[in-house]
Symmetry: C2
Subunit: 358 residues, 2 copies
């Protein structure tokens, strides 16, 4: 059996996991709908109380004039960038080389919208003010907070403010990839609207820290969101019914919105334990949200074998996959409800075993 | 109060409706999931048993090598046409002037894919073989069966075969907008795969006659569907979880697939009754599926007032909207489970009242 498969199967066989909120299965939907009245009317092509009430609630949270519910962030963000390109007349945007749009969307932004991209910083670090000052003119700069593919790093809030001021002065729109916006608020010690105030448009996801089924919100001015609805229809995202995602997003938002500080504390504590294991370090060293990456020294074959053994013997899932880098392998952890279900002795045992194996 | 609103509110206040399967509300989801095991794993970005099993089942039904589940038909069909344009090297497709892509999608096909359209026939009639023979070269011809916006009309099966042969000989791909494919099988007396055999690619919807929540299938060769998955991701339709739509599509497909002949018989019988009312005729005169349009002589104001009164006095919903045409108004009926819940005396009473009002 190949080592990737070995690792994945041992992970899938575990009863508990360090990361996430538990299995992604139909019970996630059942829990969300258990207390919803069957007589509740469906939304109809973006209209109706079920979608409009949630959009208003999210506008309030984010401190924006208006929001639109989308089936996916991929769709919402391409559309946001397209609107800003059309408004400013230049089909060019800037973002980090590991932005979701650049590496996970089959180049939809380029293929569907003909938008050119300018890559800032590099694959090892965050976008800084100096990168933004030096960049050529674009219609929009997209910042992803936290920068997921480098472990969930964050610039300081002062850097964010400086970048926002600079963009404003140059007439460049600033868009927030806030898939994990709620998860970063404890570190910044800010409200969602205080962060969003720096941005012209914002995207928020409902199946990351919030743990819903799928779906996203795009927020901005009334004029911006109205234009986004036209593009939502063009993309094929203006479904007759989005309520399975909307009502579950609302349920899990209410359930978890006040737990983000706990997830963040758990991440810091867990990262500290991993950093005490020889051959393992976390990125960032001290997490700034509920997420971090593990960097484990060794080949994929060697580490997969060890982790598979660990997962089988402890019943705790650490990693379902590894990405091989130069001399080490990487995997991602995002703390949620699952970690809180583990008791102290079980975690102690996991680290004793991990120490033994490494 | 304006007359459109008056009509809509009287319709929304009815207990029963002639059209559809009952209210589009959360109970549609609850029924579909009542017997689904909570431990059933979610699909993950287009993979996993829940989506793959349904795609295989639909491939079997449609007699195609492969299928892909999409959140919407808008997305599926634009992508089908894009693939054929790329394969044949000409960014031009042909369809009826009232095709869904032409009138309901904010020109997504043109705006996102840069595809030019050639309109065949006109707003009063079906595409015939002569239109296809005379048309300029295109990559793909899309046929919608039934042609919804003209009441759900169908060409003869011989015409379909002749169009398919002609396209094949000219090297033009033939795509089926089969949103209502199951609904036309009783009229043709054919299986789904016998109809689909004439087409290179097929789209089927799950919230028309089948009555699911949302979602669509795109079918074709393995190579075609693989390419469609890349575009699905570009469009933002490759959601982490589509199971709320897939499992409900499967539930209602199983529930209603064998009822299409009854819906068709009901449509013919009901159309006959409408045609006996002065000032009302149906289009088509004799339905060829579960659907038809009502053409009611008079102004929108006058008809809306009468229908609102009818709906209030009988508690039966006939129309929630009217489209004003030249000397008459039009509305659409699609027969489903709702009509079968009405008893004979209630329908007799409705027509007695309608006769009195008209």
């Amino acid at each position: 059996m190949d080592h990737g498969k070995l690792l994945r199967e041992s992970f899938n066989g575990t009863k508990h996991q360090l990361s996430g909120h538990g299995r992604r299965n139909v019970s996630v939907l059942k829990e969300a709908f258990a207390n919803v009245d069957g007589e509740t009317s469906s939304d109809m092509y973006g209209k109706g109380e079920v979608i409009e009430a949630f959009e208003r609630k999210m506008a309030q949270l984010l401190g924006k004039e208006s929001t639109v519910f989308f089936p996916s962030g991929t769709m919402a963000q391409q559309i946001a960038l397209r609107i800003w390109c059309d408004e400013l007349g230049t089909k060019k945007v800037a973002y980090h080389p590991l932005a979701h749009l650049e590496i996970h969307e089959e180049d939809g932004l380029k293929e569907l919208h003909g938008i050119e991209t300018v890559l800032l910083a590099d694959e090892t670090r965050l976008v800084e003010l100096a990168d933004v000052v030096a960049m050529e003119d674009v219609s929009c700069l997209l910042l992803e907070l936290p920068q997921r593919e480098i472990g969930g790093q964050l610039p300081s809030f002062e850097t964010l403010e400086a970048i926002a001021s600079h963009c404003k002065a140059r007439g460049i729109k600033l868009h927030l990839d806030g898939a994990r916006l709620l998860e970063i608020l404890p570190y910044y010690g800010k409200s969602a609207s205080e962060v969003c105030e720096l941005f012209d448009s914002v995207y928020l996801s409902f199946y990351k820290g919030i743990g819903g089924i799928a779906g996203a919100i795009l927020a901005g001015s009334e004029g911006f969101t109205e234009r986004s609805k036209v593009w939502k229809r063009r993309h094929g995202g203006d479904l007759i019914s989005l309520y399975p995602y909307i009502l579950s997003a609302d349920h899990y938002y209410e359930k978890r919105k006040d737990r983000m500080a706990s997830y963040y504390e758990d991440a810091k504590q867990l990262a500290e334990r991993f950093n005490a294991v020889p051959g393992i370090r976390t990125m960032p060293n001290v997490p700034v949200s509920n997420m971090f990456h593990l960097h484990i020294t060794g080949s994929k074959e060697e580490i997969a074998t060890k982790l598979a053994e660990l997962q089988r013997s402890t019943g705790i899932g650490v990693a379902g996959y590894l990405v091989e880098k130069n001399g080490y392998c990487s995997t991602e952890l995002s703390l949620g409800d699952a970690y809180r279900e583990l008791d102290g002795p079980a975690i102690d045992h996991l680290f004793t075993e991990l120490d033994r194996l490494m």
